[in-house]
């Protein structure tokens, strides 16, 4: 199956590690041009170097997405450099924690507002694309209880509602909007590696919840995202696709 990604222009935030990194490497392998950002300069430089080697156009910068103006300016620069934007994947997250009220502000500014600002800033480009597609990275934490009343979970839930309503709003302009909600994803330097090392009981519990006994890999999530983002996923919009190897237990009608 040809996903139809060759020559498409994809902008992905937080793309030097984990899921974000797997997404840009896969999209580039499928022939898409890439605009990426992350916080750490040498990691951005390395990702740009490695992806360029695949023969696609790539632009990358260090951006703190909490800084709304700087972030929006970068999005415009990236779209201009790539000559448009067909795919937008807001992936950055502030992560978990419920030890401070500030987690709410941080999760709101990072998880919610960087997604909203990105969608609004890039929408004119996505409308011009003809195959415009947004895939928002949410989490299974939004649909089942996990880890306590964390800002992270509530903000990921906000993204589900925002995504659905945005999909209705921009559908007539030919832009699709979906969420992918990964369950636990394990990778070197990832959150679950930290949990395994510092909270082994929580890690063991999570492993027991997964019938197949394996956490996801960033590459597995990236394949789901790539399909939904691509023209091949043309019929899917307003969906929340769970990619969790059976970690969650609810029935999804």
């Amino acid at each position: 199956m040809d996903l139809g990604l060759r020559g498409k222009k994809a902008i992905v935030t937080g793309a030097t590690k984990g899921i974000g990194r797997a997404i840009v490497y896969l999209l580039a392998a499928e022939g898409a041009d890439i605009g990426l950002c992350a916080r750490t300069e040498d990691e951005v430089a390395q990702a740009v170097r490695e992806i360029s080697a695949r023969g696609v156009n790539v632009v990358g910068e260090t951006v703190n997405v909490r800084d709304g103006e700087a972030y929006k300016a970068w999005l415009e620069r990236a779209a201009a450099a790539l000559g448009g934007c067909d795919i937008f994947i807001p992936n950055v997250s502030a992560g978990g924690g419920m030890d401070s009220e500030k987690n709410w502000v941080k999760a709101f500014e990072v998880d919610v507002m960087h997604t909203v600002r990105g969608c609004e800033t890039l929408m004119p480009h996505l409308e011009r694309s003809g195959t415009g597609s947004i895939v928002i990275i949410s989490s299974t934490n939004a649909v089942e209880t996990f880890g306590g009343p964390m800002a992270y979970n509530a903000m990921k839930a906000a993204l589900l509602t925002y995504s659905k309503q945005l999909s209705q709003h921009v559908g007539k302009k030919g832009v699709r909007v979906n969420c992918v909600s990964p369950g636990p994803v394990y990778f070197d330097g990832g959150a679950w590696e930290l949990v395994k090392g510092t909270m082994p009981k929580l890690y063991d519990w999570a492993m027991k919840q997964i019938p197949g006994g394996k956490m996801g890999t960033p590459e597995e999530v990236a394949r789901v995202v790539a399909f939904i983002a691509s023209p091949a996923g043309s019929l899917v919009t307003g969906a929340n696709v769970i990619a969790d190897n059976g970690f969650t237990k609810r029935v999804q009608f």
Binding site: R66, S100, E101, K102, G189, P200
Partner: protein, 454 residues
């Protein structure tokens, strides 16, 4: 079977960038400079010294009855007649606050028929200010002299020439120290550099928060060794790799005592940088009054930023860090006061792990957990915790110490094996080698350890 090259590739310690450290000139009180390493060779440390009853007897004769030992804390025995009974091997020592405010120590044994006068732990004579033996009611003054011997006229020989047998006592750091040595060197000579290193922490401003004795199924030295190196962190404390630097550790071996300085609040080079601040490092930030959710810098900067924050905020929090250097505000300054005190010393708390030998069994020991927290100036002085006695594995003593405790019986069992000649010690374990060298000096004297001796 792989080649030597494969073996080395799998086994080499990871490269790392050194952690920033305070310059010696910026540490006016506790010395920060690296002490030259002693040249102690690379021999095996004979396993028999952990298992042999003969060696244990020699330790009693040449070590325990010669060194200065931690006895009591002065604020626990404030009034005349207040006392603490502490045990070491076969002996029980009674440390008593005197009428003149001084402190004296005695073997805790009635001169009549040998009965123990008081049980282990804290107590007071109250206003009576005397110790009466429960057996025939021989009664002693606080200074150990006789107050009353019932029916003294029925002893043709009169009363013994001496009252309670005294041991030498002295004080440092708010603690009473004692020695059974009849011709002891002064306590401060024995402690050497320790008071200069540790006085700036103001132990007198700290309240006791744990007072637990656990009987452990290992030799006392097996336990000393367990706290004398950081190499085991990657083995049995994997969670600490997201909390401390287990390779960039400054080791300083002095004449008898030693220390190492472990950077806290930073990642080990053995783990990858995680996407968020690890909970253990968050706890350090919270302890300093910082909000981790507010922190936007890289994890590698946290240790330095905690130091700056504590330096700036300490006084307002009632915490006087004026005599400490910056590294002392975050790091573990870990001391071994020879032979049996492992101290984790921090700006806001310190922990003493004391290893005491069993009276008769080289495969058992008593592990004391004594911890103390800084009481902010102006805050009410909290009540001290009560003492508890536990057996090995009875109860959790905290994740890290549980991990240490779970490991030790296996180590002790292995010491008895015909398949184990002795300890193969690496550079990260230099303090273990140093400890055993000092032990040799006590056991064998200036002549050194004879060939073939454990």
């Amino acid at each position: 079977m792989g080649s030597d090259e494969d073996f080395l590739k799998r086994s080499r310690s990871p490269a790392y960038t050194p952690v920033p450290r305070v310059k010696p000139a910026d540490s006016p009180e506790t010395p920060a400079e690296k002490h030259p390493d002693p040249q102690l060779g690379a021999d095996l440390i004979d396993a028999r010294r952990y298992t042999s009853r003969e060696y244990m007897a020699r330790e009693w004769e040449r070590l325990w009855t010669k060194v200065w030992l931690l006895g009591a804390r002065l604020i626990d025995i404030p009034e005349p007649g207040d006392y603490e009974v502490t045990e070491i091997g076969r002996e029980s020592i009674l440390i008593v606050r005197q009428a003149d405010g001084g402190v004296r120590g005695f073997y805790n044994v009635c001169q009549h028929r040998g009965n123990r006068l008081r049980d282990c732990g804290l107590g007071t004579t109250g206003e009576g200010r005397s110790f009466t033996c429960a057996y025939h009611h021989w009664e002693y003054e606080l200074d150990g002299s006789y107050r009353r011997i019932p029916d003294i006229d029925t002893f043709a020989q009169g009363r013994p020439a001496r009252g309670l047998r005294e041991v030498s006592c002295d004080t440092w750091g708010g603690f009473v120290w004692f020695t059974m040595n009849e011709k002891p060197e002064p306590l401060l000579d024995f402690l050497g550099p320790i008071p200069r290193h540790l006085d700036p922490y103001h132990f007198d401003r700290m309240v006791q928060t744990r007072d637990i004795t656990v009987e452990w199924n290992c030799n006392w030295k097996t336990s000393v060794d367990a706290f004398n190196e950081s190499y085991h962190v990657q083995g049995i404390h994997p969670q600490l790799l997201w909390y401390l630097h287990d390779l960039d550790i400054q080791i300083d071996c002095y004449e008898r005592h030693s220390r190492y300085l472990i950077p806290f609040g930073t990642l080990s080079p053995r783990v990858r940088r995680p996407p968020s601040i690890p909970e253990p490092i968050k706890s350090i930030m919270k302890g300093a009054g910082m909000d981790p959710a507010d922190y936007d810098g890289p994890i590698a900067d946290i240790r330095g930023d905690v130091q700056k924050h504590k330096r700036a905020q300490g006084r307002a929090q009632g915490r006087d860090y004026s005599r400490l250097n910056d590294d002392q505000l975050t790091d573990d300054y870990h001391y071994l006061i020879f032979p049996n005190l492992s101290l984790n010393v921090h700006a806001d708390d310190f922990w003493i792990f004391r290893q005491r030998p069993h009276p008769t069994d080289p495969d058992r020991m008593f592990y004391d957990i004594l911890t103390y927290d800084l009481v902010p100036q102006g805050a009410e002085w909290p009540a001290r915790v009560k003492h508890r006695d536990w057996r090995h594995g009875d109860k959790s003593i905290g994740t890290v110490l549980d991990q240490d405790a779970a490991n030790l019986p296996g180590v002790q069992a292995g010491m008895h094996s015909a398949g184990f000649p002795g300890l193969w010690i690496g550079r990260q374990e230099l303090r273990i080698r140093h400890f055993h060298k000092v032990l040799d000096d006590y056991i064998h004297g200036s002549g050194g350890r004879p060939a073939g001796a454990p």
